[in-house]
C-alpha cells in the first residue's frame, strides 16, 4: 500500500520547543487517521443515521447539538444539524457505511484525504486554543466527546474534545501546514513537545 503524504511532513519537528525549561505544557501531534467521513442525514432521519453509526462502529452518540463520543480508535461528533464527522484509525470506513446510510437516510462523503487531524494535549491546551478560536473551551462548556465547528480567520476547523486536556482538530488539508506553524508559534510561550 502506498503511504499517504502528510502536508505537515516538512514542518513537523519532533522534540521539545519554545520555553520548555519550566516543563512542557503542550503536546502536539498529527494523528493521521485512515478514515474521515462526513455523514449527513436528511431532516427527520437523524436518529436513523445515529443508529447506523452505532451499527457500524458501536459508538452511541448522545443526543444534542455537538454531541460526540470516542473510544480511542473511532470517534464521532455532530458538527451541524444532522451532520457528523466520523473518524477511524483504519482506512476504508466509507465502504462500511455505504450499505447502512442509504439514500433515504442521507449521504456519506469521504474526506479522509481532505482533512488533516492535529491533536493538542496538555495542561495548557485550552489556553493555546483560546488564542485561535472564539469558543469557550472550559470543560463544562465543552465536554469530553463533544464537537464544535469554528474558524480562525480563513481556516475552518472542527474540534473534538477527546480528553480533559486533549483536543483533536480537523482542518482543511491545504491550510494544515500554515495552521500547524501558527499552533507551534502560539505554544512557544508555554513550551511544547512535538510527537
Amino acid at each position: 500500500m502506498v503511504e499517504r503524504q502528510s502536508p505537515l511532513e516538512p514542518v513537523l519537528h519532533p522534540g521539545s520547543h519554545g520555553n520548555f525549561e519550566h516543563g512542557v505544557e503542550i503536546i502536539l501531534s498529527e494523528t493521521r487517521p485512515g478514515s474521515i467521513l462526513q455523514l449527513a442525514a436528511w431532516p427527520g432521519q437523524e436518529k436513523a443515521l445515529m443508529a447506523g453509526i452505532r451499527t457500524v462502529t458501536g459508538l452511541a452518540l448522545p443526543d444534542g447539538a455537538g454531541g460526540g463520543v470516542t473510544d480511542g480508535v473511532r470517534s464521532v461528533f455532530g458538527f451541524a444539524p444532522g451532520k457528523f464527522t466520523m473518524v477511524d484509525e483504519a482506512e476504508g470506513l466509507a465502504s462500511a457505511f455505504a450499505d447502512v446510510v442509504t439514500p433515504s437516510i442521507g449521504t456519506v462523503t469521504d474526506l479522509s484525504h481532505g482533512r488533516t487531524a492535529i491533536r493538542i494535549a496538555g495542561p495548557k491546551a485550552e489556553w493555546v486554543l483560546a488564542k485561535f478560536f472564539a469558543i469557550d473551551f472550559a470543560l463544562p462548556a465543552f465536554p469530553i466527546g463533544a464537537g464544535r465547528s469554528t474558524m480562525h480567520h480563513d481556516v475552518f476547523a472542527q474540534i473534538q474534545r477527546t480528553g480533559a486536556d486533549q483536543f483533536d482538530i480537523y482542518v482543511f488539508r491545504s491550510f494544515a501546514r500554515s495552521f500547524w506553524k501558527a499552533l507551534c508559534h502560539a505554544s512557544e510561550e508555554v513550551g511544547y513537545e512535538v510527537q
Binding site: R4, G18, N19, T107, L111, H113, H153, F172, F175, E189
Partner: protein
C-alpha cells in the same frame, strides 16, 4: 538620595535601584517607579512640549489621562512614540526621549509659535493659506506649500520604520463576571462574585491591584488601605474561578457584552521570556460586567495653569504616598472642593511645606478648616489663582479675592512663592465604557459631573466612584452589591470592612474657570484655551461636536479625559445655558490608545495563511516560480536557467501542443453534490441541463447570478445517479459554495441535496497534448483509456502506481487532455508517476502562464472575462442558456441593459506590429497618443502564442462580435504602448476542436 525622594514611605522597592536614560541623560529610580515618578524624584520638571505653541510642560497627572508628559520609548531601533511617562514602568536600560521639540526639550525653536498667540486662535487655518486665485500658486499649490511646513511643525512623536520583532497575541476569554478596575469597589465585586462560584476576570490597568487604596492614606479593616488591597488581591489569586489581569486596560465595550482589553505583558521588562508576547489582546465575552473604573480629577482653568509644577492634587498625593516622591518643596493648593485637602496633608506629612491653600469657596467647613490647620498652610478662602510665575518651572503664583457667584476678581493680587501648585476642579466619573455600551450620561448638579444612568439590564453594573460614590466606604458597599448582582445572586446584609478616612463633602463648587489676563488652558496637549472656546462660540460652533472639531478640544491623545467638562462649562457659560443642555460627547473605543500591534495580534507578520496544493513541495523542488493566487500558491513557470518568463511559458505551451504537458489543477474548487434531488438542483443552478447527463460523464456548466450576469463556470461530473462532483474556478470556490448552500437552505429546503467542499480531498493533474493518451496508457492500470473506454467528457476509474484514480477526459488547453484526480495524500505520488511515464514523450510541467496561453489560444473564458459585469451572451455562451427550464438568473438576463448592442463582447485581438500586448490596454478606433480617447474596451488577457507565432489577446470590446475582421489600435498610455491590431474571433486556434476530440 535623589533630591525629591522622601526618606520613607511609598510602595517602591528602595533596595532595587534601576538605571535608565531620558533624552540621553542617565538617571536612577527604584523598582515600582514610573518614568514620571522617577524623573520627578530626580528633580526633573520639564517633560515635554505642547502641540501647537510648543510650550514647556511638566507632568499634570499620575495616570493614563496624562496630556503633557509624553515620551518616545526606544528599544534599539524600534520606537514607541507618545507614551505617557506616567504609564511607563522603569526597567534597567529603559531609554526614553522627549518629543515635539528641536533641537532640545529646553530650547525648542518652534516655541516661537507662542508669539503668534491670538493669530493662531482656534480655526485660524480655515481662514487663510488659500493663496492667490491666479498665477503659478493658484489652485491648491499655495496651500500645499504651507501645508508642508505645518505638517512638520505639528505631530508629536516619530513613528519607527524598523520592523518590530516583538510578539503580539490574541486571547479569547469567556466569563460570568468581568470586573473592570480594582480599587476597593472592584476588589469587593470580584470577591463577592467569585464567592458565588462565578467565573470572574478582574482587569486593572495599573501594575498593582488596589486603585486609590494604594495612595489614599486611608485605612480599611484597621490596616493601611494599600495593605488591605494587596491582601484582597492575594486572596483572589487563590481562586480557580478567578483570573487576575494586571496592566490590562479594558478599552472597548462592543455589542453582545464583548469587551476588548490590552494586557501589557512585558513592557516593564528588560527582555521578555522566550515566546512571551509584548501585548496580549483579550477579547472577553462576559455575561455581566462590573464597571468600577473610578473617576478622573479635573484641572481648573486659570492663566498659566499649564506651567511645569502645576499638577492635579491627587497626582501629587499619589507621588508622595505611592512613590515616595515630593513633586515640590514649597507646595500650594488651589481647589473648589474638599477632596484636595487630603492631598495637601499628604504632602505635608511627606515633608513638604504647604504654603497656601486657595479655595474658591467663600466658606470652609469646620472639618476642612481643621485639616487645613494640620497642613500649617495660609488659607485663602474665597480666593482664586489668577496667574503663575516662573519660566520652564513654577516659581510662584498670584492670588486675588474671588466671588464665586459672579466670577469677579477684586482686591489686590498677592504673589506667593511656591515650586508646586496643586489644583483640583472636582471629579468626573470614568464613564467611558458605559458610554461605549450605549448608556447616556446624566448630569448631576450636586457633584457637577456626568454620571452613568442606573442600568436597566444585567449587562453591566456600576460601583464606586464610577457611579459618583466617591467615598471608600460607599465603594466597598456598592462593589460587593454589584459583584453579587452580576453573579446573579441577591445582596444579603453583611459586615463590611470598616474604613478610616478623612472627612469631606464630595460636592465641589461650580467653579471651572478663573477669568483673568493670560492664556488659560482647557486642553493642555492641544493648547486649546478658554478664549478659543469663546471664539468658537462667537463663530457659531456651539454644539459640543462643533466645539471639539473647530478647536480640537478633546481630540488629543488623552481624548479629553481632563478637558471635556471644563470645556463644556465654559461653552455653557458663553451660551447662558446649563451644562447638560450643551451636551456631552459619546465616548467611542478605545478608552485609551492601544498599540496597533496588539490589535493585529497573531496576524502581525502573518496576515493570511498559505494554502498549498498536495504537490506544492514538488513544484518548489523542481524550480517552479510560485505565484500567489488568493491564498493559494500555484506554479507560474518552471523556468530554466537564463530563461525569461515569456521564454519559459512559450516553451511550456509549445511543448504541450507538440507532445504533452502536465499542470497542477488541485486548486479548482470541488463540491460534492449528493442526494436524490442533486440533478434537479443542478438544473436550477446551471444555465444548461444536468439531469440528462449520464453517469460516468461530465459536462461544462455556466452559472448566472440572480441578476442574470455570469457568475462562474466549470465542469461537473456525474459519478453516480445521486452523486455529482462540481468543479468551480479557483477564485470563486467559496462564493459558489455559499451560493449553493443559500439556495438549498433558504429558497429550496424541500430539495434533498447535500453539498460538501471536497476541494482538499482531491489532488488534480491535467495532462494534455498529442501524446497525453499514450502517457496515460503507459501508467494507468485497471481501465482502458482509449476513445471507446474514455470518450470526450467520459470518466473512468483506475490505478496509477498503486493508487486509485479517477480520470475525466476534458480539455481546457484544446488538446487531447485528461484530468487525473487522486486522494490528496497520494497527489505527489501520482504526479511523479505521470511525469515518469511522460519522460519518453518529452512531457513538460507547465504553470499558470502557459495554462493562460493555451486557454487564450482557445478563447476560453476565466475570471478576467467573467468579471461580474458580463453576460453569457457577451461571452458567446448563448448556446448554454437553456430555453427548456428556468434557472437562476434566467428571468433577469434579458433586461434591456443586458442585451444592448453596445455591450462589451468577447473578441480576439492580434497584434499587427508584432509587439507584445498588455493586459489592461484599451482598444480604440483612432489612435491619439497625445490625448487618448474613445475607448472601445480593453484587453483581458494576452500572451505570445507559440501556436500562431503572434502576440494575441482576448478583449472585451463594444459591439465586439460585429467588429471581427476589422482594424483597431491598442491604446495603453500608462505603458506608452500604441499600435495596430486586428479584431478577430476569440477562437484563435483549432476552432473546430479537432485536436481535443482526437
Amino acid at each position: 538620595m535623589s533630591p525629591r525622594r522622601t526618606e520613607t514611605g511609598g510602595r517602591i522597592d528602595r533596595l532595587r535601584t534601576i538605571r535608565f536614560t531620558f533624552d540621553g541623560a542617565p538617571y536612577t529610580g527604584h523598582a515600582g517607579d514610573t518614568l514620571a515618578s522617577a524623573l520627578l524624584a530626580n528633580g526633573v520638571t520639564l517633560f515635554g512640549r505642547s502641540f501647537k505653541y510648543h510650550r514647556p510642560r511638566g507632568v499634570l497627572t499620575a495616570g493614563v489621562e496624562e496630556p503633557n508628559a509624553l515620551v518616545t520609548v526606544l528599544r534599539g531601533e524600534v520606537r514607541e512614540p507618545n507614551i505617557p511617562a506616567t504609564m511607563v514602568e522603569i526597567y534597567d536600560g529603559l531609554a526614553a526621549m522627549s518629543q515635539n521639540r528641536f533641537p532640545s526639550l529646553a530650547w525648542d525653536v518652534n516655541a516661537i509659535n507662542q508669539l503668534g498667540g491670538k493669530l493662531l486662535s482656534a480655526g485660524f487655518y480655515y481662514k487663510t493659506f488659500m493663496g492667490p486665485v491666479v498665477g503659478p500658486l493658484k489652485g491648491t499649490r499655495f496651500w500645499m506649500f504651507c501645508e508642508h511646513f505645518i505638517r512638520r511643525a505639528a505631530g508629536l512623536g516619530k513613528a519607527g520604520t524598523a520592523p518590530d520583532t516583538a510578539r503580539y497575541e490574541r486571547m479569547n476569554a469567556f466569563c460570568d463576571v468581568l470586573v473592570v478596575g480594582s480599587g476597593p469597589a472592584g476588589l469587593m465585586a470580584a470577591r463577592a462574585a467569585a464567592d458565588q462560584g462565578a467565573r470572574v476576570i478582574l482587569a486593572e490597568l495599573e501594575p498593582h491591584f488596589g486603585g486609590s487604596a494604594n495612595w489614599s492614606g486611608e485605612t480599611i479593616d484597621g490596616m493601611p488601605a494599600a495593605d488591605w488591597a494587596a491582601r484582597a488581591a492575594g486572596q483572589l489569586e487563590g481562586h480557580d474561578n478567578v483570573r487576575l489581569l494586571p496592566r490590562t486596560t479594558v478599552w472597548g465595550y462592543y455589542d453582545g457584552n464583548t469587551l476588548a482589553a490590552i494586557e501589557r505583558v512585558t513592557d516593564h521588562k528588560e527582555t521578555p521570556d522566550k515566546g512571551e508576547p509584548r501585548h496580549r489582546y483579550w477579547t472577553i465575552r462576559a455575561k455581566s460586567v462590573v464597571l468600577a473604573t473610578g473617576s478622573l480629577e479635573r484641572p481648573l482653568v486659570f492663566p498659566g495653569n499649564d506651567r511645569p509644577g502645576v499638577m492635579l492634587a491627587h497626582a501629587a498625593e499619589r507621588y508622595a504616598n505611592e512613590y515616595g516622591v515630593l513633586p515640590g518643596h514649597r507646595v500650594a493648593l488651589f481647589t473648589n472642593n474638599d477632596s484636595a485637602y487630603r492631598a495637601a496633608l499628604a504632602l505635608k506629612k511627606a515633608g513638604a511645606a504647604v504654603v497656601a491653600i486657595v479655595d474658591a469657596r467663600p466658606e470652609l467647613s469646620s472639618e476642612m478648616r481643621k485639616l487645613a490647620g494640620e497642613t500649617e498652610a495660609e488659607i485663602f478662602s474665597g480666593h482664586a489663582v489668577i496667574a503663575t510665575e516662573g519660566g520652564k518651572a513654577l516659581s510662584g503664583f498670584k492670588v486675588q479675592r474671588f466671588d464665586m457667584a459672579s466670577g469677579a476678581l477684586s482686591g489686590d493680587a498677592r504673589s506667593i512663592h511656591a515650586d508646586c501648585l496643586l489644583m483640583s476642579g472636582g471629579w468626573s466619573p470614568t464613564i467611558h465604557l458605559a458610554s461605549q455600551a450605549g448608556a447616556k450620561a446624566e448630569w448631576n448638579e450636586a457633584l457637577q459631573a456626568f454620571l452613568p444612568p442606573k442600568p436597566t439590564t444585567r449587562q453591566w453594573i456600576g460601583a464606586g466612584a464610577f457611579t459618583g460614590s466617591f467615598s471608600t466606604a460607599e465603594a466597598i458597599a456598592e462593589g460587593r452589591a454589584a459583584g453579587l448582582s452580576a453573579a446573579g445572586a441577591t445582596a444579603t446584609p453583611a459586615a463590611l470592612p470598616a474604613v478610616g478616612a478623612a472627612p469631606g463633602d464630595p460636592d465641589p463648587a461650580p467653579v471651572f474657570e478663573i477669568k483673568a489676563a493670560g492664556k488659560s488652558f482647557v486642553d493642555f496637549q492641544h493648547d486649546v484655551t478658554a478664549d478659543d472656546v469663546r471664539l468658537a462660540h462667537r463663530e457659531g460652533f456651539v454644539s459640543v461636536e462643533h466645539l471639539k472639531r473647530y478647536t480640537t478640544l478633546g481630540m488629543a491623545t488623552d481624548q479629553g479625559k481632563s478637558s471635556n467638562i471644563p470645556g463644556l462649562a465654559i461653552m455653557a457659560e458663553a451660551l447662558g445655558k446649563p451644562i447638560p443642555q450643551v451636551g456631552t460627547t459619546r465616548f467611542r473605543p478605545p478608552f485609551s490608545a492601544v498599540s496597533i500591534g496588539s490589535l493585529a495580534a497573531e496576524r502581525f507578520g502573518d496576515l493570511k495563511p498559505e494554502r498549498l496544493t498536495p504537490m506544492h513541495d514538488w513544484h518548489v523542488a523542481n524550480g517552479a516560480t510560485m505565484y500567489s493566487a488568493g491564498l493559494w500558491y500555484r506554479p507560474m513557470i518552471y523556468g530554466h536557467p537564463g530563461e525569461t518568463i515569456e521564454q519559459a511559458y512559450v516553451r511550456e505551451a509549445r511543448a504541450t501542443r507538440e507532445s504533452a504537458g502536465i499542470v497542477d489543477v488541485s486548486t479548482l474548487g470541488k463540491i460534492a453534490v449528493q442526494g436524490p434531488d442533486a440533478a434537479e438542483f443542478l438544473d436550477r443552478v446551471y444555465t444548461n441541463m444536468f439531469s440528462t447527463l449520464a453517469v460516468g460523464k461530465a459536462r461544462y456548466g455556466l452559472m448566472l447570478r440572480e441578476d442574470g450576469l455570469a457568475f462562474d463556470d466549470g465542469t461537473t461530473w456525474r459519478l453516480g445517479e445521486q452523486d455529482f462532483l462540481m468543479t468551480t474556478t479557483t477564485a470563486n470556490a467559496g462564493k459558489v459554495m455559499q451560493h449553493l448552500e443559500y439556495f438549498l437552505d433558504v429558497i429550496w429546503p424541500e430539495l434533498k441535496v447535500h453539498v460538501t467542499s471536497v476541494t482538499d480531498q482531491w489532488a488534480g493533474a491535467a495532462i494534455g497534448g498529442p501524446n497525453a493518451r499514450q502517457i496515460l496508457a503507459a501508467c494507468v492500470s485497471g481501465t482502458a483509456v482509449d476513445n471507446a473506454a474514455l470518450p470526450f467528457m467520459g470518466i473512468v476509474h483506475g490505478e496509477i502506481a498503486g493508487v486509485p484514480v479517477m480520470i475525466c477526459r476534458l480539455s481546457f488547453s484544446g488538446e487531447m487532455a485528461f484530468e487525473v484526480y487522486s486522494g490528496a495524500g497520494y497527489g505527489t505520488h501520482v504526479w511523479e508517476a505521470l511525469i515518469e511515464a511522460g519522460k519518453p514523450f518529452g512531457l513538460v510541467t507547465y504553470g499558470l502562464e502557459a495554462l493562460g496561453t493555451l486557454r487564450i489560444e482557445k478563447g476560453h473564458v476565466t475570471g478576467a472575462e467573467i468579471d461580474g459585469r458580463t453576460t453569457g451572451r457577451d461571452l458567446h455562451l448563448d448556446w448554454m442558456l437553456s430555453k427548456k427550464k428556468p434557472f437562476i438568473g434566467s428571468a433577469m438576463m434579458d433586461r434591456e441593459g443586458l442585451i444592448a448592442p453596445d455591450r462589451l463582447e468577447l473578441v480576439g485581438i492580434v497584434s499587427l506590429d508584432n509587439q507584445p500586448l498588455n493586459g489592461g490596454a484599451h482598444i480604440v478606433e483612432e489612435l491619439d497618443e497625445a490625448n487618448p480617447h474613445g475607448s472601445l474596451g480593453h484587453i483581458t488577457a494576452c500572451c505570445y502564442s507559440p501556436a500562431l507565432g503572434k502576440y494575441i489577446a482576448l478583449a472585451l470590446v463594444k459591439g465586439g462580435k460585429a467588429r471581427r475582421g476589422t482594424r483597431a489600435y491598442v491604446s495603453d498610455p500608462l505603458r506608452n504602448r500604441f499600435g495596430p491590431v486586428e479584431i478577430v474571433s476569440n477562437h484563435f486556434f483549432d476552432p473546430d476542436g479537432s485536436r481535443m476530440h482526437g
